[in-house]
Symmetry: C2
C-alpha cells in the first residue's frame, strides 16, 4: 500500500466526489464486496473509469494493476483524506425545526464529528433536551467556545441573527461552519472553512429542472 502523497491543490469537484466514493464503498462493504475495479466503480456510479483513476490519483492512487482496489482499504483511506478519523468537535446554534432535524437526523459521529452542544436564545427551549444534549443559552456561547474549542459551528438560526452570532463565534476561535442560513460567511471571513446548504436555492433549481422538462416535452 502506497503512502498518501496528497497534492497541493485538489479541485472542489474532486473534493465533492470523495464523500460519494466513501458512501458507495460503504454500501459495497455491507454487501460483502472486497475488491473492485475502477471500471466497475465507474459503471455503478455513472462516472468514467479514467475519471475515477484521476480522482484517486490526486491523493497518491491506491489501485494495483490487474487487481483493482481493495474496498475496505480504499474506503478507510478516503475516510482519512476526508478527516473522518479526526473527531472534530461541533456545536449547533439555533434549535428550531431545522436545528432539531439536523441534530436528530444527521449521523455526525460517523461523519467525523462529535456534536458536543446545542445553543438557542429562546428561554422556552433552553434546558430542554435534543439529540441527547441539553440546550444551552447563547449567552454562554463565548465561554463554552473558549473552554471546549469546537472546530465547527452548525448554523441553523434565522438569517437576521446570523451576522451577530458569526462575529461572536469567530471572536471565540471557531473557524469552521456548516451553514444552513443564506448568509455569505466567506465574504466576511475568507479564512474560514465553510460548507453551505442552501435549501431554498436547491428548491428553486428543482423548479427550473421541472419547468425545463415541461417545456421540452
Amino acid at each position: 500500500m502506497e503512502s498518501i502523497a496528497k497534492r497541493e491543490y485538489v479541485s472542489p469537484a474532486v473534493i465533492r466526489r470523495l464523500p460519494r466514493y466513501y458512501r458507495f464503498l460503504g454500501t459495497l462493504l455491507g454487501r460483502g464486496v472486497t475488491r473492485i475495479s475502477s471500471r466497475e466503480i465507474a459503471e455503478m456510479m455513472g462516472l468514467t473509469a479514467s475519471q475515477i483513476r484521476q480522482d484517486l490519483n490526486c491523493f497518491g492512487g491506491f489501485g494495483q494493476q490487474g487487481y483493482g482496489y481493495n474496498v475496505e482499504v480504499l474506503r478507510a483511506e478516503i475516510g482519512r483524506i476526508l478527516g473522518l478519523d479526526k473527531g472534530f468537535r461541533a456545536i449547533l446554534v439555533g434549535a428550531g425545526n431545522m436545528g432539531k432535524a439536523i441534530s436528530n437526523y444527521v449521523d455526525f459521529a460517523n461523519k467525523g464529528f462529535n456534536l458536543i452542544a446545542i445553543f438557542d436564545k429562546d428561554p422556552a427551549k433552553i434546558g430542554t433536551r435534543v439529540a441527547g444534549l441539553t440546550i444551552k443559552s447563547t449567552e454562554e456561547i463565548t465561554d463554552f467556545c473558549l473552554t471546549h474549542k469546537p472546530d465547527v459551528a452548525v448554523l441553523t438560526l434565522p438569517l437576521q441573527a446570523t451576522k451577530g452570532m458569526l462575529d461572536i463565534l469567530v471572536a471565540a476561535g471557531v473557524t469552521g461552519f456548516w451553514n444552513f442560513t443564506h448568509y455569505d460567511i466567506l465574504y466576511d471571513y475568507p479564512h474560514c472553512a465553510v460548507e453551505s446548504v442552501f435549501l431554498e436555492d436547491s428548491l428553486m433549481t428543482l423548479s427550473y429542472l421541472v419547468n425545463d422538462r415541461r417545456e421540452s416535452e
Copy 2:
C-alpha cells in the same frame, strides 16, 4: 425589454447560480435599490462582471448599456426562468424529523411550489398536523397522485423505503423529486427531474475542508 430567447443547453453551473441571483436581487429590492450594474453585482456576489453578463446572456440578456439592470425586472425575469411563477404542486413523503423540518422551515410558496399533501406510513403520525396539513397514509398515495397530479415529491423517508416508494410514485405519474435520501433516482429513472440534497456528503466535505485548513496551518 427584450423577450427571453432561452438557449437549448444551459450548463448546470449557470442553473445553480440563478437562485443566487434571484435571492441577491430580492435583498437589493428590500433595500430599495432599483438599478445595478453587472460590475456591482459581481463585487457583491464575489463573481466577475463578465461571468454575470455571460450568465444572463444565456437567457437573452436584460441589461442596457450604460444603464445596467433594472433590479425588479431582472429579478422577475430570473424568477420566470426558474419557473417560480408556475405554482408546481408538491407532496412530501416521510414526516419524520427531517420531513417536518422541511415542511415547516422551507418557504415552498415563495419558491414556486405549493405543498399540497404530506404522507407517512406510521399510524401514530397519520391524522396529525404538520405545516397546516393533515398527514395522510402512504396507502392513499397512488390515488392521491392520480387525482391531484403533483409535479414533484419531496423524499424525506429512510433509504431502505425509498426504492419501493419511488416505483409507486413514478407509476402514479410523478416525474420530479427533491431528494433528501441517498438513493440514486436518476440511475433508475433518467427521465425524471431530480435535485438532491445530500446532507451527509456535505458534512464530510466540511470535514475535508476543516482538516485541510489544519494541515496547511
